[in-house]
């Protein structure tokens, strides 16, 4: 799409969408939202940039390789956070008994393992949405133009 208005608007709005997505991810333990919805918002902003400009500009924001690594890395981070509990002696995915700093109710950096897991999940969901988008578009390009 090569419309001038769409390009200017998306270039102005995309940072705000990303800040909102990061806000929803970080406040997952304090208000509704969390990793899934915040990651979807963040991923949607990257797809918006790739759609309103062309694919090269989208690839400069986050390339296909980086998205694959972030996707696997986010999920592996979840498993490793669970294994921290096993390494200390409590059960898998333990929170207080594994020594994660809990903080007070209502603070930003509180609730130990939940905060870390939410951050990893947000990264993973955002990169998954970008990877899905790239796979469908590249699949279309490989087999001739879109119908």
């Amino acid at each position: 799409m090569e419309d001038q208005i769409v390009r200017i608007t998306s270039r102005l709005v995309a940072p705000f969408i990303q800040v909102y997505g990061i806000y929803v991810i970080l406040h997952g333990h304090l208000s509704p939202g969390g990793g899934f919805s915040g990651g979807a918002i963040f991923g949607a902003s990257l797809v918006l940039v790739a759609l309103s400009f062309n694919l090269e500009v989208g690839a400069k924001q986050i390339s296909h390789d980086t998205a694959s690594v972030l996707e696997s890395g986010g999920a592996l981070g979840f498993v490793i956070t669970g294994l921290v509990g096993v390494a200390v002696g409590a059960n898998f995915l333990a929170n207080r008994s594994a020594g994660f700093p809990l903080g007070e109710v209502g603070e930003l950096f509180s609730a130990g393992a939940i905060f870390i897991i939410t951050a990893f999940l947000g990264v993973k969901v955002a990169s998954t949405i970008v990877t899905l988008f790239y796979n469908i578009i590249e699949g279309e390009e490989k087999s001739g133009n879109a119908h």
């Binding site: 390789d65 694959s68 690594v69 996707e71 696997s72 890395g73 999920a75 592996l76 498993v79 669970g82 294994l83 509990g85 096993v86 390494a87 200390v88 002696g89 409590a90 059960n91 898998f92 995915l93 333990a94 929170n95 008994s97």
Partner: protein, 492 residues
């Protein structure tokens, strides 16, 4: 850091970890991805064997995720029947993977092989979780992971038949999942719990107040698990899906995935519902008659097939009917026979699909009538096919006889000899469509007229292991039977 206490969670962590790690390994360290997968599957199998010895010594025990006891946390429960299912899943999937490493190179494009390892590890990990979990919502999530990965290992080979078969499987599986979630909602509405033991304790007084919820929930569970495990009228997705998939996927799907849902049905009705309430649901009659029709119709449809893998797929419908027949007969000996059939059929059907895969790899033919005289050029493969067919029919000396024997004994003990007639008739029907292939393969006069590619040794070694396992299970079956009888006694 007493690591052996955490083996239940570590099995799933290892399998999920290797599935997340495979895309990175495949992209940057391609030679290490296959050995890493085999190493993880072996590690999970070793942990499961240790768990078996622990359960035999200590009795049943539970594992709380995160240290939170139920109802706050998710619980994994290990008793004898669940550890048996876990061992079956892990051992057979490791065996299939050794075969798959060579066979996939000619069936899939190279850039998707890394994703195949991911999906395979996800299927095995979710099945291990379904065998161990004690929580209804955890069962839902693991069932969904298994369903999507099972559909994906069919459609990863992208040709016309695979995609349509995979879509049909996905839609029918999603219908089953919707029914299952509605059943969980029905139970959660009246009891307020998600853990199996807590629901078991809370269900009798809930049924006093709201008597119809339990019937709705059990009907929805039968439909949900019946769709996913190919019980008779809900089996329509199975022939296309198992016939058009790559051969290791067919072996995994026919051998393990449909069985784990039959196992989940058994656990749901025997551990979740308390025994007096279970008597008031006509579960056994439903399962008996649907299973019998599945056994007969599976064999009848298999007789008229012309494609080798489709015939094996229809045969799977008949064989899963035996497991449901065992559950429906509701007698210790019959359930032992049904669960023994689970293990034996996993090995024999996977071996038959692997033989079909070797035939397709080396000659490229799929039609049965073109298989005449193939015994002279592929002797090892056809010998394995013969032993597998003999076990399907129930010839003494192979494992198939033991399970049918125990099923017939159980049917006689509760006084319903018609099911013995059904078991014998289906054995005869199995012979009708397996014997011609073997006779034509070995005793045809003309030469085999198609070109033969040499088969690598890595694809033949699993066939030897399968033949040895079937003969071992047929002759030295006593330890397994004793184990299963002890396991089933605990639930009665």
């Amino acid at each position: 850091m007493e690591l052996t206490n955490h083996f239940p969670a570590l099995i799933m962590a290892v399998l999920l970890g290797i599935s997340f790690l495979s895309p990175i390994l495949y992209r940057w360290a391609r030679k290490a991805s296959a050995p890493a997968l085999i190493a993880s599957l072996s590690l999970a199998l070793v942990m499961a064997i240790y768990l078996l010895f622990q359960v035999l010594q200590v009795g049943e025990f539970t594992y709380y995720m995160g240290g939170w006891p139920p109802p706050y946390g998710i619980e994994f429960r290990l008793d004898l029947i669940r550890v048996y299912m876990l061992l079956v899943v892990l051992a057979v999937s490791l065996w299939i993977m050794v075969y798959a490493l060579k066979d996939l190179e000619h069936e899939l494009k190279t850039e998707v092989m890394g994703w195949y390892y991911t999906l395979y590890a996800l299927v095995v990990g979710s099945m291990a979780g379904i065998a161990l979990t004690n929580d209804l919502f955890n069962l839902f999530v693991l069932m969904e992971i298994c369903a999507i990965s099972a559909c994906a290992i069919i459609s990863v080979k992208e040709d016309r038949a695979c995609l349509e078969a995979s879509f049909k499987y996905l839609i029918l599986s999603a219908m089953g999942t919707g029914c299952f979630l509605l059943g969980v909602a029905m139970i959660y509405m009246v009891t307020g719990q998600m853990n199996y033991d807590l629901v078991n304790a809370a269900l009798p007084e809930a049924v006093e107040l709201y008597p119809n919820n339990m019937f709705a929930a059990s009907a929805l569970f039968i439909v949900a698990f019946g769709t996913k495990a190919a019980l008779f009228p809900l089996h329509v997705w199975l022939p296309d899906a198992h016939a058009s998939a790559p051969s290791p996927s067919s072996a995994m799907l026919s051998g393990l995935v449909i069985k784990i849902y039959a196992f989940a049905l058994f656990i749901m009705f025997y551990q979740l519902f308390p025994r007096p309430l279970l008597e008031s649901i006509p579960l056994n009659e439903i399962l008996l008659w649907l299973a019998s029709m599945g056994i007969m119709f599976g064999s009848i449809f298999a007789m008229v097939q012309v494609d080798l893998k489709k015939m094996l797929a229809y045969s799977s419908i008949g064989q899963i009917g035996y497991v449901f027949l065992g559950i429906g007969l509701d007698d210790t000996i019959a359930i032992t026979g049904g669960f023994y059939h689970l293990l034996v059929h996993a090995i024999m059907k996977s071996m038959l699909f692997m033989c079909a895969g070797v035939i397709i790899y080396s000659t490229g033919i799929r039609q049965i009538k073109q298989l005449g005289g193939i015994g002279q050029v592929l002797p090892i493969t056809m010998f394995a096919f013969t032993i597998g067919s003999a076990s399907m029919i129930g010839i003494p000396g192979t494992g198939g006889l033991i399970s049918k024997w125990y099923l017939a004994l159980g049917a006689l003990e509760i006084g319903r000899p018609i099911f013995v007639v059904i078991i014998l008739a289906s054995s005869l029907l199995n012979a009708v469509y397996y014997m011609p292939i073997i006779v034509n393969a070995f005793m045809q006069q003309e030469q085999f007229e198609y070109q033969v590619k040499p088969v690598p040794r890595q694809m033949l070694i699993p066939l030897f292991v399968g033949v040895a396992a079937l003969v071992f299970l047929g002759v030295f079956s006593r330890p397994f039977i004793v184990l299963l009888e002890n396991a089933v006694q605990l639930l009665f």
